[in-house]
Each structure stands twice: as C-alpha cells, then as structure tokens.
Symmetry: C2
Subunit: 351 residues, 2 copies
C-alpha cells in the first residue's frame, strides 16, 4: 500500500510498526510513522478482522431501559470494554421483543464479535425461560451479568450476583433496628435482578427465624410502589418494607404518607440502588448501592481472559463491596400500642 511505498519499505513492515511488533529499527519505524501521518493513513479494521479472524470488539445485550440500574451498568461496561482495548457494540432487547435475548445475540454474532456480555437478562418465554437460549449456537465466550449462565458457549462466565447479598444487608438493617419482620416490595418476577433481591430478603428473614410475609410485586415504577403502598398502609403489622428499587420505595412512601402512616416513625422503608435523588426526597431514603463499575470491570476482565486464552481455566470470581447508605427513612419500630389509627394528617397535595 501507499504508506509502504512512501516509506520505502514493505507492506509487512508497516504492519509491524502499527502492531508494535519487535524487530523494526527505530529509523524505519520513524519513516513509516511519518509517511502514515502525511497520508492521513488509518488502518482498515475490516481487513484486519478478515485476515486475523478477530474483531477486537465485544457485544453487549441490554434491556433498552433508562432505569438507573441497567443504565449505570451499561456505562460501567462501556468503560471496562474500552479499558481492555476492545470496541463495544450494543443491541437492546426491548421487553416483549419476540426475538428476545437470542435474537440480540444472533445479531451480535452476525456482526462479528469476539465475546458477548448479557446484562441483567429477564425471562421472556411464557414458561419462564429465556427464549431460544438453548437452540442458539454461540461460538464465542459469554459473560452473563446478574443472572445464571444462559447459553452453551465455549466459555460462560458470570459476575455481579451481588444483589442477593445487598438485599440481605438491607433486610438485616431493618431487623437490627428492632422490626419483628420486614415486608418486601419486589420487582417483576421475570427479572433475575428481582428474584435475587427476593432471595436475599427471604434468606435474611430465615436466618433470624422470622416468617416471610406475603410478597407484593411491583414493576420497578414509582406508580407500582404507590399502588403497593396503598394496600400495605391499611395493615398495622407493617412496620418495615424493603423495596427492590428506589423508585418503588419513593412511590411507596408517598402512599404511606398520604394514608397517615409516617415514615420512618410508623413504617421504615429501605430502597435499592441509591438513585441520584435518593438523599433529597422526603424523607431521605435509606438504600443500598450496587457496585456497578466493580462488577463490570471484574466481569470483563474474566471475559477477555476467556477470549484471549481459550483453553485456560476461567479466572476466579471475587466479591464486590457492599454499601448500605443509611439515611432518614428507617428507624426503630413504633412502640406496640393498642391497635388503631395513628394521628392522621395528610401533609401534602395530591397530583
């Protein structure tokens, strides 16, 4: 090619310079670099991929929501992928998408990627399984974040199953405050993320020998938290609720407050995520923070290891940090008195 001619060397030598291979004299390297610069040369990735069989890119399958958790995780993934020297390709699977995760993976495979990240998948089949996951032939390593392995691939690594631990910590915080039990406002059952939190809550209660009250299921939205709150407010036994995300917690608190149940005086609420406004709503929300960046980095390190060392053993997983943020939405339970309504005092306008 032109750069080679201009520098008076062979094509291969140019290739060596750009790939930082050894055995090029400083003088030749300089000439090549200069020629390339003058010509505005940049190497063609398609040709590289074709010749080498590697694309140096990683594909990620996400849910296509701007929810704080998934969006934060995606940003962490982008950063981790770039830090590892790969390019990132993104495909969303909207909820209700007929093709689902399998379709997204297929499209990534079509595009050509060296590895795939599946971020916080959900069940899609009516039978509670990931659509088509079994039938798809995946010939690159896969990293599943926040869910069990889903595909038969040369190497499947998982990371970020930390939600269960965080849910335990959140529940224990309420128990430690003296609450006899903790109710749970769960996310949609089809989300692995929701089920992990549910399991953590259940485990924390079981460890203290407490019965788990019936679960209320929301859809992550504040509106669903509000609806749950209206139902829960009439039950005086409810003194503590662990909500599976902050949005629902905020809706829940609003419904409780409107029903005359003060937070945290009458009912304590813990959220999940620590969204940006969590410290500024009324009352400031006690919540747990997910280590998105740490999870993404750790997962990617292991995925790239699997890509670059196909026959080596997978890298071991390590435990990410846990971060409980205690604010003002949690307090010890109210003193046990004769049943009856507390002082009902609606404080705020409705919409």
């Amino acid at each position: 090619m032109d750069v080679a001619r201009r520098a008076g060397v062979s094509q291969k030598t140019v290739s060596r310079v750009f790939n930082d291979e050894p055995y090029v004299s400083a003088e030749v390297r300089r000439r090549v670099l200069q020629a390339a610069d003058e010509l505005g040369y940049r190497r063609n990735n398609a040709a590289r991929a074709l010749a080498s069989g590697r694309t140096r890119s990683i594909g990620v399958v996400t849910l296509g929501t701007a929810l704080y958790g998934p969006a934060s995780l995606l940003m962490g993934i982008e950063r981790a992928v770039r830090d590892m020297g790969y390019a990132l390709r993104v495909v969303n699977t909207m909820e209700g998408d007929p093709a689902g995760v399998a379709g997204a993976v297929d499209s990534l495979l079509d595009q050509g990627v060296d590895g795939i990240v599946i971020s916080e998948p959900i069940d899609e089949g009516s039978d509670g399984t990931v659509e088509g996951a079994g039938s798809l032939r995946v010939d690159v390593p896969v990293l599943v974040l926040g869910a069990p392995p889903l595909f038969a691939a040369p190497q499947v690594v998982t990371a970020g199953v930390v939600a269960e631990l965080l849910a335990r910590v959140a529940t224990e915080h309420l128990l430690d405050l003296g609450h006899l039990t903790v109710h749970h406002l769960a996310g949609p059952g089809r989300w692995y993320a929701a089920r992990d939190r549910l399991e953590g809550w259940r485990a924390a209660l079981a460890a203290r020998g407490r019965d788990a009250p019936p679960v209320v299921e929301g859809d992550w939205s504040a509106a669903s938290g509000y609806a749950a709150g209206r139902a829960l407010a009439s039950d005086d036994d409810v003194t503590a609720v662990f909500a599976a995300n902050d949005d629902m917690a905020i809706g829940l608190i609003r419904a409780l407050t409107e029903a005359g149940r003060r937070v945290p005086d009458d009912v304590s609420v813990v959220g999940f995520d620590d969204i940006p406004v969590a410290g500024y709503v009324t009352p400031p929300l006690t919540t747990v923070r997910q280590p998105f960046d740490a999870v993404a980095q750790e997962g990617l390190k292991r995925l790239v290891h699997a890509i670059e060392n196909p026959n080596a053993d997978p890298l071991p997983a390590s435990d990410p940090p846990v971060d409980l943020v205690v604010r003002a939405s949690t307090a010890p339970p109210p003193p046990r008195t004769t049943p009856g309504m507390g002082d009902v005092r609606p404080e705020h306008d409705l919409t």
Copy 2:
C-alpha cells in the same frame, strides 16, 4: 465457499440470495438457504465490509453518565439505529477525559463506521470549545444531537435542539400562573443542553418584558439543587424557579421546604425531564418531558439519508412535540404582603 458447493451454485449466487437481490429462481434460493442452514453458515461481516467499503454500522459518542436524559437518549438512538438496519457502536467520553469528543470520534473512525452520532456534547477545552474538533478529519456524515455542528464533515446534520423550546414553555407556565418573574437554576455552563435551557428561559422572560434575575448554576445533581435552594430561600422575591433538570428541582424543593418556604404555596418549582419518580416526590413535580425517541428517530433518519445519498440535499428538520406535565409543585404566587418570614416549620429530618 462451502455453501455454494453444497448447493451446487456459484459463490455469487449465494451472495445474491443473502442480499435479497433479484434474479434468483425460487428453486435455487431454496437450495442455497437449505445448504446454508445445514452448514450453520453466517456471512462474515468483516469480509463484507472490506469488499463493499461499508460497515453498516453507526458509532455514537456519549457522555458516559447514567443521568436520565443522556441515558434515555442513548436508548432511543440504539433503537433508531437498529430500526434503520445498522449496528451500533458506542464510545463514551467521560468528563475530564483529555482526548474528549475528538478522541472518541477518532476511535470510532478507527473502528470503521459509516456515520457518527454525537449525543449531547459538552465543552471540554478550558477556553470553552470542543477539544480538537477542528483539527480532526472526519470523512463520514455526522449527526449532532442537542448542540451546534462541531466538525467539518461531508455532511453534518443536527437535531434535537428542542430544549430551548421546552424551557420557554416551562417558564411561560410560571408566568401564566401570575409570577412576576422566574428564577433559573441552570445546569453546568459547559453543557450545551444547559445553555439551551438557559436561552429558552431568557427568551420567555424577554418576550414578556420581564428582567431576568441572576442565574444560579448547579451541576445537575440534587445536592447542587439543595445548595441553590438554601441561597434562594432567603430571598422573598423568589416565588418561581425553573430548574434545568428534575434532580436539581428535587434538591431545591427540599432546601426550600426546610427553610420554611412551602412549595408550591410560597414558591413554585418546575423541573425538566420528567424522571420516573417525578410524580411521586413531595410535592409531585411539574416538569417538561423531552421527546427523546422522536429526536433520535428523526436525527437518525436524516443521518442515514446522508450516508446513503452522499450527494443529495439533507433532509429537512421537523419539530418534535412539546410536553408540559403539570403536577403540584406549581401554583399562583402568594398574595403580596408586608415582607417578613412566613410560618417557619421544618417538617422533616435531615440526613
């Protein structure tokens, strides 16, 4: 190639089948498809890109934050890109990144993309300009979302400069309620998104002949809104504030409330974005909603047009819808009385 041999046709015919080109008999098409299926064939994108000179992919440069606005826009872009039949590559520019937008664009160009989307850029240079934007040679069409054109590229199209309009609507809403003027809690001045909103606010005031009070600048966070609120609370002339995003509005409201200024009775607040919890904080927030999906779709349609018709005129821009969501954080101003503190009553715990 194997598929061709197995189907007993030429390589070119296989190519025709997979590209839906005309002039293949139904019979041959069937045979080819079957052979491909049996072999688990999928076409190699690198080879396609190399031979055709097109990658069928679009790169997007984003800010790498999980803020609701940018994250929503990114999701809209992904969807739009996929709908147009392209693959999406993502590169973030973290704030403070020395390479900045130019570095991200460069890396996209390295990867090989047919077009580039720059999503909500910010100024990076200390002199208030986009770092290196001028010196970079970009030879593919560029779409800039929410900012003026930044690069000299074969075609540069912009879309989504709707923030200014939305800011006008928000400000006018407060004016219509009877407020004499409206204060503005702006986003960081380096963000075009912040400056657009500032301009819209200023224009709305100017159109009614009102003076624009001094601007308070935040950093999008609820904490910065809270800090601004403490400062504003002591000024009894402040009866209406337009915040450049909902997070800041929520922090602002908290500070006002703690200072004994009731919202909306004493001070009205309008936010920007309609984040998921906006309707469930106290009081439910009046805000404007950005048409992210519409902006992304329209922008991408025009970008793809520029990619596929290099010599044609750019498609005209169209106006996206405007959506003011009126909730309970805005009301007419309080009756003008003798100056003095209202009833100070701190209602909630601090963190």
